[in-house]
Assembly symmetry: C2
């Protein structure tokens, strides 16, 4: 492995933001600023590759060092983000800019789409014989990147979802009814599954959990909810925004497709409202004697970068992912994606570099064995030991003994 060619470094953030994505950014920035002989200029691309093409950069030498720590603790991409997959033409523009600025290291923070963009740029650099270190630093609240044990950004979003369900279960316990909550996660149920952490006392919700890894059936859903509701007089339900019928058949079509071919599932209450309507009609038929209180909330964008609801472990690991990428570049590794593995009980992780193509494009759904046979809950004894250390401590939830039977 030959040493990295001295020159400028460009750092970018791409895709949906997370609560800890700036920990990774500042991890990269500070590690680079410490080695001015190697990283002669530390540049942040504003709006990711879009900023590289337009020449919009932040020069980190001009930023207040104390403020960088405040930025690290602030949710959502401080360099602003982009949802745009590099075309061959874009890549030519990016290269022209990299050569112009003598850029010799590129760190791109994002999900699988971002890893793919990084991989394309890396392949292009290799083909052109231009010495460029190309690293992808993982981030996604979806926790769906391949290879790594888990993804920075997930722990904090999972903490938000867990606390949201804790509160909503208590709300539903106080004023009984049926409550449907729609959770983010287009292809993977990891974030929806984290709702299970809200269960503290017997009969706590969520009572049913639906992940996109299992085909969703309206009939089974109605029967599941009815059974819980007849037993407990209430029912709290976690539903992934990505649920679908057999062969990926859409349940509700909202329209709009972004340039990665993703459907817009967030930023609308349509799915939750549709499921609430279905339940209203079902219960009016099977339990006509009673008035039913049925509500839906769509957690929406709040769950991905809520200030003040951050997993400490997640923040620390997100920072580590940035530092590890710079260390790998300094050690002579030319490209890759930073991944975590668990090394110790009760909990510790180490980082390693995995080739970009192993993380790019494809995502990792939840293994089927973490979901119960009926497809309406997770398997707590398998999932929770994985989740708890990533999410960290949750608020204590007290209950009056005297209300347990009442």
């Amino acid at each position: 492995m030959k040493p990295i060619t001295p020159g400028a470094v460009v750092i970018g953030q791409s895709g949906g933001p997370t609560a800890v994505i700036n920990q990774t950014l500042i991890g990269v920035v500070k590690a680079c600023l410490q080695r001015p002989e190697t990283f002669t200029k530390v540049l942040g691309a504003v709006h990711g590759i879009s900023g590289i093409m337009k020449g919009e950069f932040v020069d980190f030498a001009l930023e207040d060092p104390a403020n960088l720590e405040v930025v690290a603790q602030t949710p959502s991409s401080a360099l602003k983000s982009v949802r745009h997959k590099a075309t061959p033409d874009d890549c030519q523009k990016i290269f022209a800019r990299f050569k112009e600025l003598n850029v010799r290291a590129f760190f791109y923070i994002g999900g699988n789409d971002t890893a793919e963009t990084t991989n394309i740029i890396n392949e292009m650099a290799e083909k052109a014989g231009y010495d460029l270190a190309c690293f992808h630093c993982p981030k996604t609240i979806d926790n769906d990147l391949r290879v790594t044990d888990h993804c920075p950004g997930y722990g904090s979003a999972a903490k938000f979802v867990a606390q949201a369900f804790m509160g909503d279960n208590l709300d539903n316990r106080a004023l009984s009814g049926i409550k449907v909550n729609i959770v983010m996660g287009r292809n993977a149920g990891w974030l929806t599954a984290a709702s299970a952490l809200a269960r503290v006392h017997p009969e706590d919700g969520p009572h049913l959990i639906y992940c996109p890894e299992v085909d969703f059936s309206i009939q089974a859903f109605c029967a599941d909810v009815e059974a819980v509701y007849r037993k407990l007089g209430r029912c709290v339900i976690a539903v992934s925004e990505g649920i679908h019928g057999p062969n990926g058949a859409e349940l509700i079509s909202i329209g709009e497709v972004d340039s990665h071919g993703n459907k817009q599932l967030s930023g609308s209450g349509a799915l939750g409202d549709a499921l609430a309507d279905i339940l209203k009609k079902h219960l009016a038929k099977v339990m006509p004697e009673k008035k039913h209180r049925i509500r839906a909330d769509t957690f929406g964008y709040l769950q991905r970068c809520f200030p003040g609801v951050v997993s400490e472990v997640d923040a620390r690991e997100a920072r580590l992912a940035g530092v590890a990428a710079v260390e790998a570049a300094l050690a002579g590794v030319r490209s890759g994606s930073i991944a975590f593995k668990r090394t110790d009980a009760p909990y510790a992780i180490s980082t390693f570099v995995t080739p970009l193509p192993t993380v790019a494009k494809e995502t990792k759904p939840m293994p089927r064995e973490l979901i119960n046979a009926a497809g309406n809950d997770i398997v707590a004894e398998k999932l929770l030991p994985y989740l708890r250390p990533i999410v960290g401590q949750l608020p204590a939830i007290g209950q009056l003994k005297g209300t347990q039977k009442a």
Copy 2:
């Protein structure tokens, strides 16, 4: 004032829960448990007056004292709640139960509807010559009770809304577009107005705030949003769920009416989705050259009892409201609602007792002078000094200097 007749005490919680409603409950409970010679039995009515009628009580003497502090810090009515206005027939049943159990003090925690129920029971007791101390302890995230400076529960919900807008503004800054957020508050804009606390840096959202105190115009709304969007390339908007046209004309009808005559505005994404649709159509017409990213989130139930997002001042004051009610009863006051007044700069409060009819039924909207002339924003210099001490410290939000123009 004659001393309170020794006997049992009944405590209940009613209406929508808050994050600190159990601080008030435990404030009452602990103050009563300290005076066993006066309060011979301390009973919690499960599901408010419904539990009194059915005879469903928690005996606080049987609860673990250490657990009571955990309960105090747990959001949402630990005794469970009810949305039911006492009918004359109900009142007869409640009385029969009170006499049966020798209840001599009744503390009912809730909003204006709860104060009304407390008032009805108080009048009934007076009429029957039955010695009963009747107190209403305020709680509402809507902050719309008359007389008091502010309401327990509001500070914590305002903190949630402020933090939610902080995160959402950062999200919108990273991935530009138009974002509509629907905030709770049927008749009062206090909670929606708290979104203004999210503004830290220049150009931070929310850029527009719509409260129900001002008639909403679709035309003005479209023009307001378009102007911000043309200037900043993005726009974050806070909209109260209670907005309406002239003479209270409904913008979107969802249906369902509860026994207090309230329309169901929460638990559905309908209003946000409708406003997003209106903006999509408007911008497609006036800016057809560009693709517009328009999203809506409805904060829903999360904002009223989210564990871990609690204002410390609010928690302390909610406890105080419970203790003050018991102290008033012990001092010989027979009925009333606990209210706050500000006593000192920079911030301190004291409690006082106001007659039940001054708080029951009618609510207190935001004064018009706290809203700007155009009706699309609050008046920051008037509202924020009132809000900040109630909400307390918010997370620090960092921004890179280099992104301020980029």
